[in-house]
C-alpha cells in the first residue's frame, strides 16, 4: 500500500487505471442536484501551498469538499512561514491539528518526499507540484481528459511542446502516459530540454512541424519566465514562430486531435488566442476533470482503512 501520491512514477498501470475509472464515476456526481458525497466526513485535508496557484488549490479544495472533508487552506503568504518557520515546524503544527491528508505545493523539488518520509506527519501526502520535479495529479487529469476523447491511450501519439526544462507537468505526464501505453514525444528548443532527457521513457525532437504529424493530442506547456534566470531563446517572437501553436499548425493536425494546456496560458506566446478558443482545445474541460481526478485520489488514499493504491505488486 502507498499512503502517498508523490510521483507519477509510483503509479502502476493498475493504480492509474483504478484512479481514472474512479474519476469517471465521480465525474457523474457533478451532474447531480446534490454534488456531494459523505465519504470523507470527519477527515481533514490541509492545502499547504508555499507557491502561488489558483486552479490547483481551488480544484483540491472543491474535490475535498465534495467528499465532505474539512478543508484547511494554508498559504505561505501571511503565515508564519514568512516569519521564517521551517517546513518541519509547519508540518508538526499540522500534525498536531490532526491532518489526515496534506496536499503540498512547494517551490523546492522533493519537498513532498521529505514531508512523507520525515516522520513529522502521519497523514497522507499528495504532491500538488514541487519545483520543477513533478505534478502527478495534473498528469492524471490530462490522462483522464485524453482517455475521454481518445477512449484508450494505448499506442496514442502525444506531443508535449515547450518549456520542458522547467515543467513538472511534462515530467509527470511522460511517466504516467508511458505507463498507460501512449507514445510521448517532447518538442522544445535544445536549451529547454533537461539534461538526461534521452533516459526518459519518450522520444524528443527540436522540430515541431515534423512532430505534429499523426498526433492524437498536443499539449502546449507554459513558458515559465519566473523560473528562467538566463536567456533560453533569442526572442519571444522567434519562440512562438518555431514552437508556438497557431491556427495554421492546428489546421495540419489530424481531425480528431485535441489541444491541451495545463494553464495558466501565455496567449500569443506558446499558443495563439484563436487556437486556445477553438473547438479542438479542451483546456476548460481539463479544469473540470481536475476536480473529479482529485476526488478519486483523495477517496482512494483516505476513503478506507488503508490506501487502495499500490496494493498489487
Amino acid at each position: 500500500m502507498t499512503r502517498h501520491l508523490l510521483s507519477a512514477a509510483d503509479l502502476t498501470r493498475d493504480d492509474a487505471t483504478l484512479i481514472l475509472d474512479t474519476a469517471d464515476e465521480l465525474a457523474r456526481v457533478s451532474d447531480r442536484p446534490v454534488k456531494k458525497l459523505p465519504t470523507l466526513r470527519g477527515r481533514t485535508v490541509v492545502n499547504l501551498f508555499f507557491e502561488d496557484s489558483t486552479r490547483t488549490r481551488i480544484s483540491f479544495e472543491a474535490a475535498a469538499k465534495r467528499l465532505s472533508a474539512d478543508v484547511i487552506n494554508f498559504s505561505a503568504k501571511g503565515s508564519s512561514v514568512s516569519k521564517g518557520e521551517s517546513l518541519k515546524d509547519t508540518a508538526l503544527t499540522l500534525e498536531a491539528m490532526g491532518a489526515d491528508a496534506v496536499v503540498i505545493r512547494h517551490p523546492a523539488s522533493g519537498a513532498p518526499h521529505t514531508l512523507a518520509h520525515s516522520g513529522w506527519i502521519g497523514g497522507s501526502i499528495v504532491n500538488a507540484g514541487d519545483g520543477t520535479h513533478e505534478h502527478p495529479t495534473q498528469a492524471l487529469l490530462d490522462a483522464f481528459t485524453m482517455r475521454r476523447h481518445l477512449s484508450s491511450l494505448d499506442g496514442r501519439k502525444v506531443v508535449i511542446v515547450g518549456d520542458v526544462l522547467h515543467s513538472r507537468v511534462a515530467r509527470s505526464n511522460v511517466l504516467l502516459l508511458s505507463t498507460l501505453g501512449a507514445d510521448v514525444t517532447l518538442v522544445a528548443p535544445p536549451t529547454l530540454l533537461p539534461v538526461g532527457v534521452e533516459q526518459w521513457p519518450c522520444a524528443y525532437s527540436y522540430d515541431l512541424d515534423a512532430s505534429l504529424e499523426g498526433a492524437d493530442a498536443v499539449m502546449m506547456l507554459r513558458v515559465q519566465r519566473e523560473r528562467m534566470d538566463a536567456a533560453f531563446f533569442p526572442s519571444a517572437r522567434e519562440y512562438s514562430r518555431r514552437y508556438g501553436l497557431d491556427a495554421e499548425r492546428m489546421e495540419r493536425l489530424p481531425g480528431e486531435a485535441i489541444i491541451m494546456h495545463p494553464g495558466p496560458m501565455n496567449r500569443g506566446l506558446e499558443i495563439t488566442a484563436a487556437v486556445a478558443d477553438s473547438d479542438r482545445a479542451v483546456i476548460v474541460e481539463q479544469v473540470t476533470n481536475g476536480v473529479s481526478v482529485r476526488m478519486a485520489v483523495l477517496y482512494l488514499l483516505l476513503g478506507g482503512s488503508d490506501s487502495a493504491l499500490g496494493g498489487v505488486e
Binding site: 500500500m1 483504478l18 475509472d21 474512479t22 464515476e25 465521480l26 457523474r28 447531480r32 442536484p33 446534490v34 456531494k36 458525497l37 459523505p38 465519504t39 477517496y299 482512494l300 488514499l301 483516505l302 476513503g303 478506507g304 482503512s305 488503508d306 490506501s307 487502495a308 496494493g311
Partner: protein, 198 residues
C-alpha cells in the same frame, strides 16, 4: 461444467428454473402491489442486483407492453464499513432519464442479510432525488437482520446460520443461474453484507 473448490462444497438450493420462476413471480407482485407499473423504476445494487433489475424490468415490460425504466445504484461511498477495509473501486450509478423524483423506486439486490447495504442504498438514493416511495426486491432473504429493514418482494426465504455463505450465480456474470449455500466460510459477520457474494 467445471466447478471451483468453493462450489464443490456448496449445495444448490435454487437452480436456473427456480431463479426464473422467482423473478417472474416478483415481477407480477410488483405489478399487483403498484396497480400497474406507472412510475415504477427498478434500480439494481451492483454487482448482481444490476442484472436482476434489468431482468425484472424486462418481465414487467412484457406484461405492460412498454419498456420499464431501470438502472443501477452504487452504494460504495455510503457504506458504514468503508473505513474497516481498504478503499475500493466504485460501481456505476446510472439513473433512467428523468431521474427518480416522484417515482416508485424498487431497489433490487441479490441477497438480503444484515440490511446494511439497503440502509446505504437509502442514503445514496436521498442524494439523487425524492422518490414517491421506495420498495425492496431481493432474490434471497437469508435472515440475520441488524437493521429494521424488510423486503417487499422475496424470491426465496433461506434460513441460514451466520457461518454459512450464500452465493448467487447469474448468467450475466457467472455463466449460469443458481443459488448456492456453502459450508463454513470465512464470513461469519452478517454486517459483511451478502455473505461473501457481494
Amino acid at each position: 461444467m467445471v466447478r471451483s473448490d468453493s462450489e464443490d462444497e456448496a449445495r444448490e438450493v435454487l437452480d436456473a428454473d427456480d431463479v426464473q420462476r422467482a423473478l417472474t413471480r416478483i415481477a407480477h407482485e410488483v405489478l399487483e402491489r403498484n396497480k400497474g407499473a406507472q412510475s415504477v423504476i427498478l434500480l439494481g445494487i451492483p454487482t448482481r442486483g444490476v442484472p436482476l433489475a434489468r431482468r425484472l424490468a424486462e418481465r414487467i415490460g412484457e406484461v405492460e407492453g412498454r419498456p420499464i425504466p431501470h438502472g443501477s445504484l452504487d452504494i460504495t461511498m455510503f457504506r458504514d464499513d468503508l473505513r474497516m477495509r481498504p478503499a475500493r473501486g466504485l460501481g456505476r450509478t446510472e439513473l433512467p432519464d428523468g431521474g427518480i423524483d416522484g417515482a416508485v423506486v424498487v431497489l433490487v439486490d441479490d441477497v438480503l442479510f444484515s440490511g446494511r447495504s439497503i440502509r446505504a442504498a437509502l442514503d445514496a438514493l436521498s442524494e439523487l432525488g425524492r422518490p414517491h416511495a421506495v420498495q425492496l426486491a431481493v432474490l434471497v432473504d437469508r435472515g440475520h437482520r441488524q437493521f429494521p429493514i424488510r423486503a417487499d418482494y422475496v424470491g426465496k426465504n433461506l434460513p441460514t446460520s451466520t457461518r454459512e455463505s450464500v452465493q448467487v450465480l447469474l448468467a450475466e456474470h457467472d455463466g449460469r443461474d443458481a443459488v448456492l449455500i456453502g459450508g463454513s466460510d470465512d464470513t461469519h459477520d452478517p454486517s459483511a453484507e451478502g455473505g461473501g457474494t457481494a
